[in-house]
Symmetry: C3
Subunit: 266 residues, 3 copies
């Protein structure tokens, strides 16, 4: 992405302050709400079937996260996702722990069958399982993946007709044709709970204001990664890092994003 | 309020350490628990119908917050609220996102119909919707309100026979006869998730030890606002601000509250 | 415990990074996840009946916490606990607020009847109620306990055939034969929500890698307590303390644990 595009995109985020509706887990939900604000969006979290469609109807993006999945929540995801699809707003799905249990894997497959997902954002293990390429998921962590992650993600994006966003030391964002690699970030991001979930929220914020969801997804990961790089310099440990991560994303300007983003074509 | 009243009230909070029972949302629940402790209270959060009435029976105040509303939770709110009414302990209702969905608006109306609410604490948009005076609520944010907020709040307090507490740059606390304006606070309080919910918890703590709920509600917002003012001086961004907000409220003394409170009659 | 044992145990935690499955409350769940990581484990939180047994099947320990109990969650606890018992992995039960309501007391008794609990970790009030020795529980706090806590805990451990771990100024860990006293910790640990829950998570992490659950439970409380002692030196208030608590536990080395642990036989 050119610097001008990044600058304009992030300016647009900050000016429009898009509402991002979440149906998400209760472990990292507060982190997701706050990172959404820090990125420049306005978070809403609601999951009652009585209101999720209505709440989604005025949102700019919908983030679905299965971190603490339950059956009732899946129905609400279907309702909210249906409204998002009708309104043509982007749906970001974070398949937390897919592959760890049959319930998670089956739920992700159901959500992908019944909804048009715009961006599937997972780690290598989760994406590997969903792509049928293996990948060992232990709990909600992932461990390795046979084969070339980028190639697997690309093929999967093409066949599933969505954007696959794989977080890792190098993030991979692909729509099956174009593939972008994002090398921003810091190892300390793996030392706290919730950075994966937060990355999905930031992706929602950026996708809410753009028609180019591939670029928006990559820009979101770059912005979040730059915040992580800057936060690492202030950290004495994982929690001072976490505090600084929010502060740095909130303080990130479009110019800083454009300068610091490490996004290249694969 | 006179300085002596404020000092005595806050001393009473710190000496009695009132138990404040919450039925609240899962986004900011941890913030509510910790701010309750920092204010001088003891938090309990429970929402199972099997135990909410019993848990409420030995509380000093009940805080109801519909931030992540669901049908089962409403039944528990009715049970807990009934016990609170029987025991004549104050019930604080935070109508998060009322007006955003029909489910939220109808639920608040049901709670107001079936329970005696002591303090309705919302933002201008939520209060405007509930008062039938308009107000546009987008998600859980509010945007403007036609007319004079103080006048609307006052009329609504009178007709609904409760205290209306409207948070904003100037907080408005009114029982329909007397109206207090609180001008403590800092814009950074709007940069994090949960300050509205936390203000309701602090209101619960103060109301638990007082018979004058109008003064107690205003004093609570002043205390929370002063903590925000002090925290702002230490903040590098929203999350260092949040950390300092808790520390400052915990460190606030009755004398500091009495000196720093900006409460005046409308 | 000898220093060598402590060093080896904590080295084992850090090398094996055990998965600790939690079925826990939504107030402190994020704290539990992060403290698990800081201690050296990998947290999973899931509570749907469709997946809890499967998720538990590859965990190293199971932590059950009834802080925001509901009926559906109890069924999931039974399912997960059954799998943990089958797989012979330790089950840590934190009976938050037992004694405060009949529902909580009865649920703990049911869990103890239907599952083999390895470690029951509560405060003096909760343990007193469960042991039938009195103890007044107000909300989720405890207030005093008639009689000698250590003696009550020891008798209860013997009759219930489990390890009783009582947190307090002096922690008491007993299997009914051997009793260990842990005097690490700092009063600021009582100034934030969730330290009790976090102690249970750290206990799960240590128990997951040891066959000697008495020593592992005491070592866990010592490690957590040392982190609290170190954090207190950096704190300006409860929340800077909390931030430092996570950082200090993450930075604690086996050598520091061995040097700083204050564990002695009763």
């Amino acid at each position: 992405m050119r610097q001008k595009e990044l600058t304009d995109l992030f300016k647009s985020v900050r000016e429009r302050r898009p509402l991002v509706h979440h149906i998400t887990n209760y472990v990292t939900v507060n982190d997701c709400a706050n990172i959404t604000i820090c990125a420049g969006g306005a978070p809403v979290m609601a999951d009652a079937p009585e209101e999720v469609a209505e709440m989604t109807s005025f949102a700019g993006a919908l983030v679905l996260n299965i971190g603490t999945l339950n059956a009732a929540q899946v129905e609400s995801m279907i309702l909210a996702g249906g409204m998002a699809n009708d309104r043509k707003i982007p749906v970001i799905l974070d398949p937390v722990g897919a592959g760890a249990t049959r319930f998670r894997t089956a739920t992700v497959q159901r959500l992908m069958d019944e909804l048009k997902i715009s961006v599937l954002k997972g780690n290598a293990g989760e994406i590997g399982v969903l792509a049928g390429a293996g990948g060992k998921v232990r709990g909600v962590d992932s461990h390795g993946l046979a084969g070339d992650v980028a190639a697997i993600a690309k093929d999967f994006a093409k066949s599933a007709r969505l954007i696959v966003s794989v977080s890792g030391e190098t993030d991979i964002v692909t729509d099956g044709k174009r593939t972008l690699l994002v090398t921003n970030g810091h190892p300390l991001m793996g030392s706290i709970s919730g950075t994966g979930c937060m990355a999905a929220s930031v992706t929602g914020v950026f996708c809410a204001v753009s028609d180019d969801l591939l670029n928006a997804s990559a820009a979101a990961l770059a912005a979040f990664g730059i915040a992580g790089e800057r936060a690492a310099g202030e950290a004495k440990g994982p929690f001072t890092f976490k505090t600084a991560l929010f502060d740095e994303l909130a303080g990130l300007t479009p110019a800083m994003l454009a300068r610091g983003a490490k996004i290249k074509k694969a």
